[in-house]
């Protein structure tokens, strides 16, 4: 979907941004925020999601005697929009960022540490806390989180007489058995962007790969696994062009029996009544190992707006959104796992089909935990590595060596 968002040429964007900044700067002096309205910047551009968000906001804002106004921009534009707002001193009271963008923002000094605002995070899962932290300080908290799992076609597996694979070797064998005619056994996204990197991480991390030392040798087997799947023709070599949405389309069309994907595909999958699917944990290198998938989702942060009172009101709204009952309801609305441990348990009990996701977020890891604000460069370098290996341009070891030098080039 994100491909449909039109992105202007960067030079033009910079030019326009600068021009707008000038105008905003001139007009900014008379810009006093409405005391009765708390503003939010998020990526809920989808009408349904936007309205749902609004309902939760309204419920929480009403007792405080305020209104909440959302500004929603496409997910990949939240950062640049927020930066523009920052330089014109017009940041919203609540800024909802993708978890992987928190360090970039926190590093600028533009976010208030949550403990200074009165946001209560007791009882939240450890992985959710790490995702919103930078340099040991918590700047944002997620209401719900997601991860990746193995989604498989129950009918196709039954027909082939196989069980969902739990190890990498089993994955290769099972995928081969499931490959017939126009149907591949396995599908994943390997695009050179956030989609592809997110999908590669469970394999990279479960094998022992380290994003801070890409070339330590532990990450190569994961690259080898992906290449083997493509070389034995159990997965399409077109994976390098498929985003997560495309992978889901292939799965729905019956062109793949298993796929790596996230819970945000559940609404689409559920629309197809004759498609029987189930969720399993992502296969690990050796039997008995624990999968280490990435944790994803958006976190709510409170930007520095120099207005303590508004920050306090924003914190109260965030606290209300994170009450157990609201978290469960929100998690069910967006098919993500609540971050409050007790809410997660309730969610799992009510949605057993998505239990694998609920289990995985417990061991899931934040992408920015080790490399912090350096993550975008590491992410691009990792994407370069799996793309060059999958297209036969490089060996896994050489690709990761190259990636490490690319990730540290700017230092």
């Amino acid at each position: 979907m994100h491909l449909l968002r039109r992105r202007p040429p960067a030079s033009v964007a910079i030019a326009t941004a600068t021009a707008l900044l000038t105008v905003a700067g001139l007009a900014g002096c008379g810009n006093v925020p409405d005391p009765g309205t708390i503003t939010v910047l998020n990526s809920a551009t989808d009408t349904l999601e936007h309205d749902q968000e609004q309902k939760f906001f309204d419920v929480c804002a009403k007792p405080l005697g305020v209104k909440v106004r959302q500004t929603s921009v496409p997910a990949d534009q939240v950062v640049s929009k927020a930066l523009r707002m920052a330089s014109s001193r017009s940041l919203t009271d609540i800024l909802e960022l993708d978890g992987s963008d928190v360090p970039q923002f926190a590093d600028t000094g533009g976010l208030v540490p949550l403990k200074n605002t009165g946001v209560d995070v007791s009882g939240m899962s450890g992985s959710a806390i790490t995702m919103g932290s930078f340099g040991g300080t918590l700047y944002g908290i997620a209401r719900s989180v997601n991860s990746l799992a193995l989604i498989y076609n129950v009918d196709l597996l039954k027909k082939a007489g196989v069980e969902p694979p739990t190890t990498w070797d089993e994955l290769k064998v099972t995928a081969r058995k499931l490959t017939h005619g126009k149907t591949y056994g396995m599908a994943f996204s390997a695009t050179p962007d956030a989609d592809g990197v997110y999908q590669f991480l469970p394999f990279f991390w479960s094998g022992g790969g380290d994003e801070a030392h890409l070339d330590n040798g532990k990450g190569a087997p994961a690259l080898q696994l992906w290449t083997d799947l493509v070389h034995q023709k159990s997965a399409s070599s077109a994976a390098v062009t498929w985003n997560q949405q495309d992978v889901n389309d292939q799965f729905i069309a019956g062109r793949t029996a298993m796929m790596i994907n996230g819970p945000w595909q559940v609404p689409v999958l559920s629309e197809h009544k004759d498609l029987h699917w189930a969720v399993a944990a992502i296969p690990v290198p050796r039997a008995g190992g624990t999968p280490v998938p990435p944790i994803g989702g958006t976190v709510m942060t409170v930007p520095q707006t120099k207005d303590k009172q508004r920050q306090g009101t924003a914190a109260k709204i965030i606290n209300c959104l994170n009450e157990r009952k609201n978290q469960v309801a929100w998690g069910e609305a967006v098919n993500n796992v609540p971050t409050r441990t007790s809410a997660a348990a309730a969610y799992k009990a009510r949605n057993p089909k998505l239990g694998a996701f609920a289990d995985e977020v417990a061991t899931a890891r934040s992408r920015t935990d080790r490399v912090g604000a350096h993550w975008p460069a590491v992410s691009d370098a990792l994407a370069g590595a799996f793309q060059s290996v999958l297209t036969g341009r490089s060996t896994p070891e050489a690709a990761l060596k190259q990636a490490q030098s690319r990730a540290t080039a700017g230092e």
């Binding site: 491909l3 449909l4 039109r6 960067a10 910079i14 030019a15 062009t241 793309q387």
Partner: protein, 318 residues
């Protein structure tokens, strides 16, 4: 203020016939008054960002700069980093191949179609209008559709080619680094043909019919007529088409982002996508500005050529 004064000037002048000196001054004022909005607009929306972009390429400009307003100058560090980046050197070649390939393909096919449609036949106008459609579709939409058409396993193009036994195994249009740039170029040619066709068709209509009659009387064949009559008279239009085509192709971004995202394995990274990646993915606005500057420079060279040519054209005009 200047503007209002200048606009009100003519009626005042017509009642009280001033001295010749005052009259000339009023004329100058009037001329500037009309030019002022355009000049101000250009300064605010082109001049300022342009200068800003050049300055930014000499600064350490990060997300932090947006909050603190501090962006220390770091000399040519950004420039050095960009020139050392293998991604940039690769993208230079890709941009060159992509631009020249696109221009050549668009122009040859556009000209062929323009010549074809300049003959009168039934439905000529209708077919010409249909051929214009690719130009009306937003670039990103075209790219998304082509991405589906060119898909290695499920794309229509491959199933057509294999069913007709033109190829034995599916062509990895977008999934092989060796083919992806060619595919992107082909898609861009498809997008650019209508523009070339329409402008060249217009140019062809301007050529006086009697020249063709004279050529026919002199016994010139079709090819000879095309070479000696059509091409020379079409030259001004050809230059315009090529220069404008170059400027819009060299900075291409949306098509590539939606089609391949610069992949696979960076094989379709162009100057446009590298600027985008540096600025908005890695958030190094200084380095992004460097590539932006280079793009502006390249475009500026061709813009000057275009202006010069246009002026020369107007000078010798009727």
């Amino acid at each position: 203020m200047t503007i209002t004064a200048a606009v009100q000037a003519p009626p005042a002048g017509s009642t009280a016939a001033g001295t010749p000196g005052a009259h000339r001054r009023r004329d100058t004022l009037l001329r500037w008054g009309f030019a002022a909005p355009a000049v101000l607009y250009m300064l605010a929306f082109f001049g300022y960002p342009l200068v800003r972009n050049v300055v930014m390429s000499l600064q350490h400009y990060t997300p932090r700069s947006f909050f603190t307003g501090e962006s220390p100058f770091n000399g040519f560090d950004n420039w050095r980093a960009v020139f050392d980046n293998p991604l940039f050197t690769g993208s230079l070649w890709h941009t060159l191949v992509f631009t020249l390939g696109s221009l050549l393909g668009q122009f040859v096919l556009g000209l062929a179609l323009a010549v074809f449609f300049s003959r009168r036949f039934r439905l000529s106008g209708f077919v010409r209008a249909v051929l214009l459609l690719p130009w009306l579709v937003p670039m990103v939409v075209s790219a998304v559709v082509w991405r589906k058409l060119l898909d290695q396993d499920t794309g229509v193009i491959n199933s057509l080619l294999t069913n007709l036994h033109i190829v034995s195994s599916p062509v990895p249009w977008l999934s092989s680094p060796g083919v992806a740039l060619l595919s992107a170029t082909l898609v861009n040619i498809w997008i650019g043909i209508p523009f070339n066709m329409v402008i060249l068709y217009g140019g062809l209509q301007e050529i006086p019919r009697d020249l063709y009659e004279a050529a026919a009387l002199d016994g010139a064949g079709a090819w000879r007529t095309f070479r000696s009559v059509t091409l020379p008279l079409l030259r001004p239009v050809v230059t315009v088409v090529l220069v404008l085509g170059f400027m819009s192709t060299v900075k291409i971004l949306d098509l590539i982002l939606a089609l391949t995202g610069g992949g696979p394995a960076d094989s379709t990274q162009t100057l446009g996508t590298v600027t985008y990646q540096l600025s908005f993915q890695e958030l190094d606005f200084g380095q992004g500005a460097v590539v932006g500057d280079i793009l502006i420079l390249v475009s500026a060279v061709f813009a000057v050529l275009y202006l010069r040519f246009n002026r020369a054209n107007l000078g010798q005009g009727k």
